[in-house]
Chain length 184, copies 2
DNA sequence: TACAGACTTTACCAATCAGTACAACTCGCT
DNA sequence: AGCGAGTTGTACTGATTGGTAAAGTCTGTA
């Protein structure tokens, strides 16, 4: 019937928003259909693997975004301090001051963790090591850099949980300020 | 038929474990039935409100546990430093070094947050304020005490996310050590 | 104009979901 | 022994789940 000129890639942001809002189990095919504007057949045309393939595509998309906008700048920048500051601002923007949930973190706490274990692990492991690289370039010892990086990544996730629990974006913003202060 | 000598309260730990493992949506009545050893009739006998009432009971049970074992000691102890240390150890034990998920945190990230919003908010708000009280008694200014408390509670949640994502209890233990060091 | 392949709609499937109803059973009490 | 309250197993409902299949419509090419 009517053609929606939809490429697979065009659907992914809507898919991501849906998984963010409903979680993996909560995002039923009917909900996904509504949110994307695609019928069942179209969804299975683009994602023959069903919901699992949709979620995988979303995780890949997120990973690519973070790699380009956050991880790579941290590793490659000549000015590590500036790269870290940029990271903090980008993270705060990305998560809408804690109003937006981290899908990867949410999946990690969910029982779907095992199904997407390697993508989840990668996301955090690369984040941690990229940040550690920047910290080392900024003058920290390797051990201390890794420790600081681990702490910062965990703190961001914790801030997301707490801000959402308290329903208070300011909680998230305060946490990001603390994190940045501690990294610089 | 056979009587299982089951009181409502006896079922709650098994219920909690089920929600922890499967999440709210993932914990179907069949799964709950298996894990608790109770049939559908019994479950609805004890929890006429269905799954929602079961989850509410679990949240109440958790809240009572934390109130007794963690929050109250923080507020009432004459030795706030010792109370904080005790908290860190109790938390580490309770979460099995990060192998066990925090149901409240998981619910906060899930789309069921709104349904249990007040219980979730309470859990974290009381934790934060109890810890702040102990920190103030330990000599911190009120503002600084609240800030430190907020940070610590968030960090614990973040450590749970990260440890589960990396599948590494050591990550959680390192985080708890950092948290304790910063509080004392 | 005609055909091929990309896309979409629609109806459908078996499985599972939360929840209900009720009979069958067990136990404490008299 | 037998009553009544409490507890449990089973069968059921109607809705929804993820997923399939076939028939249809559109667009680009030739």
């Amino acid at each position: 019937m009517a053609r929606t000129i939809a490429e697979r890639a065009d659907v992914i942001p809507a898919l991501a928003e849906t998984f963010r809002e409903y979680g993996f189990e909560g995002a039923s095919l009917s909900v996904i259909g509504e949110k994307t504007g695609l019928g069942r057949g179209s969804l299975y045309h683009f994602f023959p693997g069903g919901k699992e393939e949709m979620a995988t595509a979303v995780l890949q998309h997120i990973d690519a975004w973070f790699e380009e906008r956050i991880y790579r700048p941290l590793r490659q920048s000549d000015d590590p301090q500036a790269a870290i500051s940029t990271m903090c601002r980008a993270v705060s923007d990305y998560f809408h001051s804690g109003c937006r949930v981290c899908i990867v973190g949410a999946f990690a706490l969910d029982n779907v963790r095992d199904r997407f274990a390697s993508a989840i692990l990668d996301y955090f492991a690369v984040w941690k090591s990229s940040l550690a690289t920047a910290l080392q370039k900024a003058g920290h010892e390797q051990d201390q850099a890794i420790d600081l990086a681990e702490e910062a990544v965990a703190n961001i996730q914790g801030a997301l949980v707490l801000a959402r629990a308290l329903n208070d974006p300011a909680t998230f913003e305060r946490a990001m300020i603390r994190i940045e202060k501690r990294l610089l």
